[in-house]
């Protein structure tokens, strides 16, 4: 599937807004939180995005933003006259009071620990995740340090 056709198909899916190109091989779109799982299933099974590169959580104060990066390794979506592999960048916005979203770790195993990390450092709850616990920080650590309102002491010395 050519990348233009892919963009057209994506924009017709329910819940997707603002489809655009970042670079010649990166498609960016916003996605509603409700029904996001259906879109991800479609992304994996119909469009052939085999690989989940990254899940980023951003604290936009007040809301949270989740950024997913997927890439099509096997070339099911491609750019004309180019060897570049196509990436999809998907943004989901979450409320600060209910930072929950459906887990995609049953679709891509590679997303498993990215979700755990987002939970650990940013406090996003992934519904349906098989093993949602802290991954980098020790058990019993208070708070989620990558949030902008996380306060910690810095031992700054006078010199």
């Amino acid at each position: 599937m050519e990348i233009k056709a892919f963009m057209k198909e994506v924009s017709s899916v329910k819940g997707v807004t603002k489809v655009g190109l970042v670079r010649n091989n990166v498609v960016k779109c916003n996605l509603d939180k409700e029904g996001s799982k259906d879109f991800f299933v479609k992304l994996k099974d119909d469009f052939g995005f085999e690989h989940c590169s990254l899940i980023t959580a951003i604290d936009n104060q007040p809301q949270f933003e989740l950024v997913y990066h997927f890439s099509a390794i096997n070339g099911s979506v491609f750019v004309k006259d180019s060897s570049a592999a196509v990436m999809a960048e998907i943004h989901i916005f979450l409320d600060r009071d209910t930072p929950t979203v459906e887990s995609i770790s049953d679709l891509w195993f590679g997303a498993n620990w990215h979700e755990r990390e987002a939970f650990d450092l940013m406090g996003i709850y992934f519904i349906g995740h098989p093993d949602l616990r802290r991954v980098l920080l020790p058990e019993g650590f208070a708070g989620h340090p990558l949030r902008k309102d996380y306060v910690y002491e810095i031992h700054e010395e006078e010199w």
Binding site: L137, P138, P145, Y152, I154, H155
Partner: protein, 215 residues
């Protein structure tokens, strides 16, 4: 200063042979009741023989003579055979490995990396110590047998280094364990590590005279 008293205690256990827990430091000087020698348990007997030898050596002045000879010998052995723990944290661990490569060959100094803390003399802290790692590192230090030394290798282990404003990095290894030698550098070059070991050698020779009959 605090460390030296600790070390003496460890060595006393060593002298007692089996390092058994039943020996009570208050009752060391007590003689067993006469005629009851055969009723002693083996560790009690060992302890009693140990005490008897020590007392005899002490009163006759033999201890001074023996120590005078054995101290330099034991000290010589200790400082020329440092076995570090094969433990890598970060960048400096790579340089630690590179130091044993043919270009630098730290084996010339008699270093043998052992993987088990029970068989090591030197703990090289070669990277930032994070909150999650700190208890484990402390355990490693406590698992090592006396006498033991710690080398803080690199800025991270000395003071937190480039991670001074992190929420999870401890500000230096000396905040929770005694450190003998500091090697600055980010990362420490293999030559500097060798110099660090020579400095440790110097320190052992000057500060810790070894022991044979010592309380």
């Amino acid at each position: 200063m605090d460390m030296s008293s600790k070390r003496i205690k460890g060595n006393a256990n060593l002298r007692r042979g089996l390092g058994s827990k039943t020996t009570d430091s208050d009752k060391i000087m007590e003689d067993p009741p006469a005629g009851d020698w055969l009723a002693l348990r083996s560790d009690q007997l060992l302890k009693w023989i140990d005490d008897a030898v020590y007392n005899a050596a002490e009163t006759t002045g033999m201890r001074e003579v023996v120590d005078r000879v054995t101290r330099p010998i034991f000290n010589y052995a200790q400082r020329f055979s440092p076995h570090p723990l094969h433990f890598g944290i970060m960048c400096c661990a790579i340089e630690m490995g590179q130091a044993s490569a043919p270009d630098h060959d730290i084996d010339r100094l008699g270093l043998v990396y052992r993987s088990s803390p029970r068989q090591c003399d030197v703990l090289i802290v070669n990277g930032p110590v994070c909150e999650k790692l700190r208890p484990k590192l402390k355990t490693l230090y406590e698992q090592m047998p006396e006498p033991k030394w710690v080398i803080a290798m690199g800025e991270c282990a000395i003071s937190g280094g480039p991670y001074w404003d992190s929420y999870s990095v401890v500000a230096g290894a000396d905040t929770f364990m005694p450190v003998d030698v500091y090697i600055p550098g980010c990362p420490v070059r293999p030559e500097a590590l060798m110099h660090g070991f020579l400095t440790l050698q110097k320190k052992i020779r000057e500060k810790e005279p070894g022991m044979f009959l010592r309380r």
